[in-house]
């Protein structure tokens, strides 16, 4: 293994990572921190599957070098559940059948949790726009939207 050694703070734990400068945050989380819950799909910024939360903001971990996250607080899907107790959004995904193959699920979970923490007042329409950021090839999105609304109820968008 070659490259620089630096610290990544993920889900409250510090990891000493030795990685070449070109390694993306997504790859470092999987390969150097052993946190394989974060999935990489397109690796070119299009699918959103690699979404993690960096300093409170959902970002695409394939569009950031690991070194750029030095000193930041990173949250991944592994940090959502408290022990055996699932995060309410994880439970809502199960209840609403919001996953089939599950490949896109960690990205959607981190996107929705991060977006609703960053913008707690967003409307149902704004939430739909946020969901359109990520791609799912299985579910057709309706169940994902249903799960998001179940975990984070929104006041109905006023009719125009």
């Amino acid at each position: 293994m070659s490259g620089q050694t630096f610290q990544l703070h993920v889900n409250g734990t510090s990891y000493a990572v030795t990685a070449p400068d070109r390694k993306t945050l997504g790859d470092a989380l999987r390969e150097d921190c052993g946190l394989t819950g974060t999935h990489l799909g397109c690796e070119q910024g299009v699918c959103g599957t690699c979404t993690v939360i960096v300093d409170g903001r959902p970002v695409r971990s394939c569009l950031m070098f690991a070194r750029q996250a030095e000193g930041a607080q990173i949250r991944t899907v592994e940090g959502l559940a408290q022990g055996e107790r699932l995060h309410p959004l994880q439970q809502a995904f199960i209840d609403a059948h919001a996953l089939q193959c599950g490949f896109c699920t960690p990205g959607f979970l981190m996107l929705i949790v991060g977006a609703l923490e960053q913008d707690p007042d967003m409307t149902e329409d704004e939430l739909a726009e946020v969901l359109s950021s990520n791609l799912c090839r299985c579910t057709g999105y309706a169940a994902i939207a249903k799960a998001a609304l179940a975990a984070y109820p929104r006041p109905a968008t006023p009719a125009e």
Partner: protein, 291 residues
């Protein structure tokens, strides 16, 4: 897909950054939000030997709305523009256009300086900068200079920046009270790159339109003003006939690009439709505000 190897520097001052760029002699690149550069590196469209990260350089992320002008630092992110109440009041066209940029996560990281330097013909910020006559402040190893936005953009993905130059800020002239504005865009999915978009701004001189500016992006190889459409607006009443004439003039004047998403004839028609619709909405917005 692994990215090409490079050296990474994260200087704390602009002097260090420009010196690093000058030393590398054209092989180095600045990295701001990375939201265009990383995809480009993934596709091997860029393989810089050195990346100079701007994230630790202080003073590049300010939004200052002063009496004479609005100054936006190069590291202002899309999210910051959308969150700024002062900008929403002083230059409402800008957040309206930036609402169409990319997706939630990308808006959390992408910067306006990166967007200008990337010069994608389908990106919103350069178009608004050209429409508004913004000035771009850059710093190089040899000193400062200011470039009008339309002279910065030299072609698709091409600027007049030197290898060692860094964009530090963009300055917009303040708008007079009551200036009306219009923006509309068509993309396959909200947040995807525009197939075509239009922006416009004008004042009312009594019952007539004055100081009209119209710009097109996405449909042409650079964001650009469309003088024949501006001529069709100036001195006329803001009604359907005038807007139809401006739309027809814009459609006729542009040289549309073609790609797998749309042919030239489609883009030409789309520009007219978008402009007519956006201008009508600029009036509807006035009526709503008056009610």
């Amino acid at each position: 897909m692994k990215l090409p190897a490079f050296d990474y520097a994260c200087p704390e001052t602009l002097d260090e950054a420009t010196a690093l760029l000058a030393e590398a002699g054209g092989d180095a690149k600045v990295i701001a939000g990375g939201q265009s550069l990383l995809p480009f590196m993934a596709f091997r469209l860029a393989a810089p030997s050195l990346l100079v990260d701007l994230r630790k350089i202080a003073g590049l992320d300010g939004i200052e709305v002063a009496d004479g002008e609005i100054r936006l630092g190069a590291m202002v992110r899309w999210r910051d523009i959308l969150d700024s109440a002062a900008l929403a009041r002083a230059l409402p066209l800008l957040p309206a256009a930036i609402g169409h940029v990319a997706h939630y996560q990308i808006r959390n990281r992408g910067t306006l300086g990166g967007s200008l330097a990337h010069a994608d013909p389908a990106s919103e910020f350069p178009c608004i900068a050209v429409l508004c006559g913004a000035s771009v402040d850059v710093v190089g190893a040899g000193g400062h200079r200011t470039i009008p936005a339309d002279e910065l953009i030299a072609g698709p993905m091409e600027t007049t920046l030197e290898d060692d130059e860094i964009i530090v800020a963009v300055r917009f002239p303040r708008w007079p009270e009551g200036r009306r504005w219009a923006f509309d865009e068509f993309a396959l999915r909200h947040g995807d790159l525009a197939i075509a978009a239009v922006a416009a701004a004008y004042d009312m001189d009594g019952p007539h339109i004055a100081h009209a500016r119209v710009a097109v992006m996405g449909a042409t190889d650079t964001p650009q003003r469309v003088p024949p459409a501006e001529d069709a607006l100036n001195g006329r009443a803001p009604d359907d006939d005038t807007f139809g004439a401006a739309a027809a003039a814009a459609s006729a004047a542009i040289e549309p690009t073609e790609d797998l998403h749309a042919g030239a004839a489609y883009r030409r028609a789309l520009v007219g439709t978008l402009l007519r619709r956006a201008l009508a909405e600029s009036c509807a917005r006035e009526r709503e505000a008056a009610e």
